[in-house]
């Protein structure tokens, strides 16, 4: 029997317990002199139902892990087992196939030997199904009875049920911590392996990036693993150029929408702007590479910049900036609108014009929210790969000239992980180290941002 069916069974039993407990609570209630219970009947019902379902869920989880093993053991004990290949994959597929037929997931077998096992499988599965069902019912029954016997008119069922609810809430918030931990774990081992091959000092402070995934893996050239140009490229494209576009445009849009535009226009323009963030990045990539980049090159050449190439950090950054306008504008819009009216009134009553009020009072007061929006936007920009690949190429340059080609950390991560290099090569492993460092950096930045925002937040309350 599949775990799904066992769970359905448990739910059915839980429902039965729920109804029984509720009926009992109602009978208490009729019997009590003031018609009042410590908790509502439905809380009694939930209490019993949870006591039935939760233990069963735990059991089913455990059972679905061990039952297949037990079934296989039983099958292997059958006489036909002697014909099986001794070990390995072949044996496993034959068994799998026989099981698929036995459970009805497949019509016929592909490997004739498997036929022999269909019947043993059927029997073993049948047997363990029964065991599973019986134990499930037993556990449900025991849990249900135990909980049921505790019901009394003054039993604080609500408190207990709510404790479980609180535990679930707490559990949900722990998912974030687990995810963080998961990221850490999934990066750290390969990172350590990488640092075993390339000195972290060379990696973190080197200024030349040019790993060759096809080169000899045994003694990598540490001078080719300097990540500074990547981090610089990331910063330059994602955090400087893109922000120079997105912050003024996003902020000005938000200001116009909250302070000047009439509400009807705002209701239309705001969602329209949000579409900008939803356009697939491939589209932006082509737009950047085939429209913006050549235009920038021609413009630069007309100004006399001889070395202008059509791959430039500027093209990638500009287009990326457009893409993240809505992140800035939406968050800024919300936080400007949330500045207390008293601040606005205070400034207007001093005889300030609207723009003076916005620039000198509203924007500073809304700064935490604006910063949060910018942070989201920056992270989106940093994580973006397609636009960079298409418009700024994948060559790592350490340069302050926006007309040169550059690349970013995430582009390299993707390139290394989906390239032709082998996975024990330091070039490929460097992707994990890059990810790890990037992760630590964002963690640090967020730590600082959180502090700053907290401090700011006290400001106007």
């Amino acid at each position: 029997m599949s775990p799904t069916l066992l769970l359905l069974l448990a739910l059915g039993l839980g429902l039965a317990g729920w109804l029984a407990a509720r009926a009992r609570a109602w009978s208490f209630r009729r019997a009590s002199p003031d018609g009042r219970l410590a908790s509502l009947p439905s809380y009694h019902a939930w209490y019993v139902a949870l006591w039935i379902v939760l233990p069963v869920v735990i059991f089913v989880a455990a059972w679905s892990a061990i039952a297949p093993g037990l079934v296989t053991q039983a099958v292997l004990a059958s006489p036909a087992a002697d014909q099986l290949p001794a070990f390995g994959f072949q044996r496993q597929t034959i068994l799998n196939e026989a099981r698929a037929v036995a459970t009805g997931a497949a019509q016929g077998v592909f490997n004739p030997l498997a036929n022999e096992f269909v019947e043993p499988y059927r029997q073993a599965i049948g047997k363990y199904n029964w065991i599973g069902i019986i134990v499930t019912v037993l556990i449900a029954f025991l849990g249900g009875v135990w909980a049921f016997l505790r019901l009394k008119p003054d039993f604080a069922a609500r408190n207990r049920v709510e404790k479980i609810v609180m535990a679930i809430l707490l559990g949900a918030s722990l998912v974030a911590i687990l995810t963080t931990l998961g990221i850490f774990v999934s990066l750290v081992f390969e990172t350590i392996r990488f640092f075993g091959m390339v000195n972290p000092i060379d990696f973190l402070f080197g200024t030349h990036w040019g790993p060759d995934p096809m080169a000899n893996a045994a003694n990598p050239d540490p001078t080719r693993y300097g990540a500074i140009p990547l981090f610089w490229g990331t910063l330059f494209i994602g955090a400087i150029i893109a922000m120079i576009v997105a912050i003024p445009l996003g902020l000005m849009s938000a200001i116009y929408l909250t302070q000047y535009a009439n509400p009807k226009l705002r209701a239309w323009v705001k969602p329209a702007l949000e579409i900008l963030a939803g356009v697939p990045t491939v589209v932006y990539g082509y737009f950047a590479a085939l429209t913006i980049a050549p235009a920038i090159r021609d413009f630069a050449i007309s100004l006399g910049a001889s070395s202008a190439s059509s791959e430039s950090a500027l093209a990638a950054g500009l287009v990326m900036g457009v893409m993240i306008i809505p992140f800035v504008s939406s968050m800024a819009d919300d936080s400007i609108a949330a500045v207390p009216q008293a601040m606005r009134d205070g400034s207007l009553a001093m005889g300030a014009t609207t723009n003076e009020t916005i620039r000198r009072v509203l924007v500073p007061a809304a700064l935490p929210g604006i910063v949060a929006g910018v942070m989201l936007a920056v992270s989106r920009a940093i994580g973006e790969t397609m636009i960079v690949v298409m418009a700024a190429s994948t060559a790592a340059n350490l340069s302050a000239n926006p007309l040169e080609s550059m690349t970013t950390v995430t582009v390299q991560i993707v390139a290394m992980l989906t390239g032709e290099g082998s996975f024990d090569h330091p070039a490929t492993l460097s992707a994990f180290a890059l990810g790890f460092v990037l992760f630590l950096v964002t963690l640090g930045l967020n730590f600082i941002a959180l502090r700053v925002v907290k401090r700011f937040r006290e400001a106007y309350e």
Binding site: A342, D345, G346, M350, G351, T353, E458, A459, Y460
Partner: protein, 248 residues
């Protein structure tokens, strides 16, 4: 400042009904009346702060120096610089104390140099009776002050641009008695230098600080006169009832 047949509407609803009043230039005028009678609404019409409420509409004329402030060419910015306002809840900007005071002079370009600005800030704080308390921490945030100090800061901010009229909408309702006493002292001090209009729900306060009192009820101005007359010898029964606590 004088109002002629002023009515104010919020959408369809008439919140002020045909009020005419002359506000003397060197006295403190108090507006009293039960909650919702339109005191705040009328006060805000005096410096066009109700322009910020989209649904609000004003009829009638309000004259300042012989000019109707609702006439089409009126410069609202200048008007508000001339008619300052202090709100019920102290609302200092989340900036330093210095910046709070310097804000008005800066945007209006009233000080030509840093020294001049310093002088304006000091003078305003002194007049607001706050100088001694804050002179050592002008760079602290204005929001770090106590409620009473914040309210005096807001008053200092208003007088920093040298207005002709100061409007105060229940400036003490969020304050404790000691802070309230300080503000009242300050109003006494400023009296004679500026025209002051104060809205209050406390008749005691009106009696203490004002020379003229206007009693509003359900959007109408019921009675207006010398404070002493209103409190001891009101002409209208409603005023009498209100003052003696029959309602409100």
């Amino acid at each position: 400042m004088s109002a002629r047949d002023v009515s104010v509407f919020y959408g369809e609803k008439k919140a002020i009904d045909n009020v005419s009043i002359d506000i003397p230039t060197k006295y403190v005028t108090a507006f009293i009346g039960p909650s919702g009678c339109g005191k705040s609404t009328f006060l805000r019409t005096l410096n066009r702060m109700n322009d910020t409420i989209p649904s609000a509409r004003v009829e009638g004329e309000i004259m300042l120096d012989g000019e109707d402030i609702y006439r089409s060419g009126m410069d609202v910015v200048q008007l508000r610089a001339r008619v300052g306002m202090v709100f019920q809840k102290p609302n200092p900007f989340p900036k330093s104390i210095y910046e709070n005071i310097a804000y008005g002079p800066k945007i209006h370009g009233l000080a030509e140099s840093k020294d001049e600005l310093d002088a304006v800030v000091e003078k305003s704080l002194r007049r607001a009776g706050l100088w001694e308390e804050v002179k050592d921490r002008l760079q602290d945030s204005g929001t770090a002050l106590s409620g009473g100090q914040q309210q005096r800061l807001c008053i200092a901010r208003a007088i920093a641009v040298d207005p002709e009229v100061i409007l105060m909408d229940e400036p003490c309702s969020a304050l404790d008695p000691i802070a309230t006493a300080k503000i009242e002292e300050l109003i006494d001090d400023l009296n004679g230098r500026y025209a002051i209009v104060i809205v209050t729900h406390s008749m005691q306060q009106a009696a203490r600080v004002s020379q003229r009192t206007a009693f509003f009820h359900l959007g109408k101005m019921v009675e207006y006169g010398r404070t002493s007359d209103i409190f001891t010898n009101p002409l209208e029964q409603r005023t009498q009832d209100y003052i003696t606590g029959r309602y409100g």
